[in-house]
């Protein structure tokens, strides 16, 4: 068990998502930056889909009531064990009574704590990803205790972290495909969309990221149609909204672009006022 001494700003349990229930209106969810959550699981010798803890900007305080191994990936939020600072992307042994804390955000936005065998929070429709109306709670709550897999000897990997992994946090190019309504945009609109730098607004969460800049828009809404994680929508007021992991299953705004899978992970590490630039990778 792990006791939540403090919950942090927005901390949830996530695996890779809840598949096969979208036609009941159930969002897929899953860890925002799957490159990082999978890395944590790989370093621990877990399965890619084992549940991890997703931390946003400010970390929780966790007291370990049993021994296990942990590995923190994603954003560097200055983690420490019993007040001794530790590295990200490295496996550590936790003993009974050890306290994991976080400090200042150095880079990125979302950090992942993996534990040996994964977190064992409730599994609903084949997934442990937290979401309101699906799981009992949409985030972890102070004072609760979370079940983890009983510690077994697993082979942890001393994988060398690829240099490209750090670029994942610094680089601001967001690779996109044309969306179903891309060709309804004027040549001028397409140029602006693909040349301009956009900034992320303070309206950003697990469901969607809205961009600050307004866009001249004459497109009508469409009959409620299908959207996905990474769909870029253009609203009637000319605002651009990028749907993220907790995205609704359908929507009525023109879908002008679609992020690549890699870029959804990358965008998940960006926060308010960060710049991004769309780059079309359609053949």
């Amino acid at each position: 068990m792990i006791e939540i001494v403090k919950s942090g700003l927005y901390t949830t349990i996530q695996d890779l998502g809840r598949f096969g229930y979208e036609n009941y209106g159930v969002p897929i969810s899953g860890s925002m930056d799957q490159l990082s959550s999978i890395l944590s699981n790989k370093l621990l010798g877990n399965n890619d889909n084992d549940a991890v803890m997703e931390i946003t900007m400010t970390g929780p305080v966790l007291k370990f009531l049993e021994e296990t191994k942990i590995c923190i990936t994603g954003a560097d939020i200055s983690p420490s064990i019993n007040d001794n600072s530790i590295d990200v992307n490295r496996v550590y042994q936790m003993n009974q009574g050890d306290v994991l804390k976080f400090g200042k955000l150095k880079y990125g936005l979302r950090s992942y704590i993996g534990v040996s065998g994964g977190f064992l929070s409730e599994k609903i429709m084949n997934s442990r990803s937290m979401h309101s109306n699906i799981t009992k709670s949409n985030r972890i709550i102070r004072g609760e205790s979370l079940k983890i897999k009983k510690s077994v000897k697993t082979k942890t990997k001393r994988t060398k972290i690829n240099v490209n992994y750090l670029k994942h946090f610094k680089n601001n190019t967001i690779e996109v495909f044309k969306g179903p309504e891309f060709n309804k945009l004027t040549i001028k609109q397409k140029q602006v969309l693909l040349k301009k730098k956009f900034t992320i607004s303070n309206n950003n969460n697990r469901m969607a990221y809205q961009l600050n800049e307004s866009f001249d828009n004459q497109l009508d809404s469409i009959i409620t149609s299908l959207v996905m994680q990474g769909t870029v929508q253009l609203t009637p007021s000319g605002k651009i909204i990028i749907l993220m992991r907790d995205s609704q299953t359908c929507g009525g705004y023109p879908r002008i672009l679609q992020l690549s899978k890699k870029s959804i992970n990358k965008l998940s590490q960006k926060h308010m006022d960060n710049n991004i630039k769309f780059e079309l990778i359609d053949p």
């Binding site: 009941y24 209106g25 299908l226 299953t249 899978k261």
Partner: protein
Amino acid sequence: MKSYNLKYKRFGESSVLVEWPSKINESILENILLFKSEIEKKYLNKNIYLKNSYNSLLITYREIINSKAKISELNNIYIKIGSKQKQVFNKWEIPVCYDIDPGHDLAYLEKSLSIKKEEIISLHNSKDYRVYNIGFLPGFLYLGGLDKKIHHPRKAKPILNVPKGAIGIGGSQTGIYPNNSPGGWYIIGNSPINLFNINKTSPCFIKPGDKIKFNPISLKEHELIKIQVESNIYKPIKTRIND
């Protein structure tokens, strides 16, 4: 069954979007659902996920795909669909109490539409509605068929807490809130039934293509059904329909 001229579009790295003419009608819906079930049969137990809306179908694969090859594979399934293939849908009776507080906007609608309350209620529950899609919230049904006389624009400002089961009118649509949530529709009643149950393998008993009919009940009956639903003994009334 009529065959449509479909548009296939690559949508990201792993999905294909199929589009029908951009109209809302029941024969398009039935054609979409027939294609959907044929794809499901063909790809049984494969890592493929399908969802539909009014005039489109999205096919998502877990892996990165060669969209051209997948599109021709899908189109081959479509052109082989026989003209005599029938689908079976259900018609569900949804009990609704139109005489319930809180969040009741019938008095407002009576003035705004200049139609008597009793007339609004009877226009609302005298027709069958078709379920086109489930989305927006888990278990939220997109219904077609609301009488034009009771179309009404949404509230300018959504209210924060629409109770579970609330029946609302928003624009040309009517629907049931499957859970407590914010919402901008005018609320005219409440249904005691559970539209979305996370503990069932199939979390909604209603499916796209099904029909529903609102069945007016009294406040007393509402209370009783609510208790039956909570004790898990309530069985919604259904009849089979053939298209």
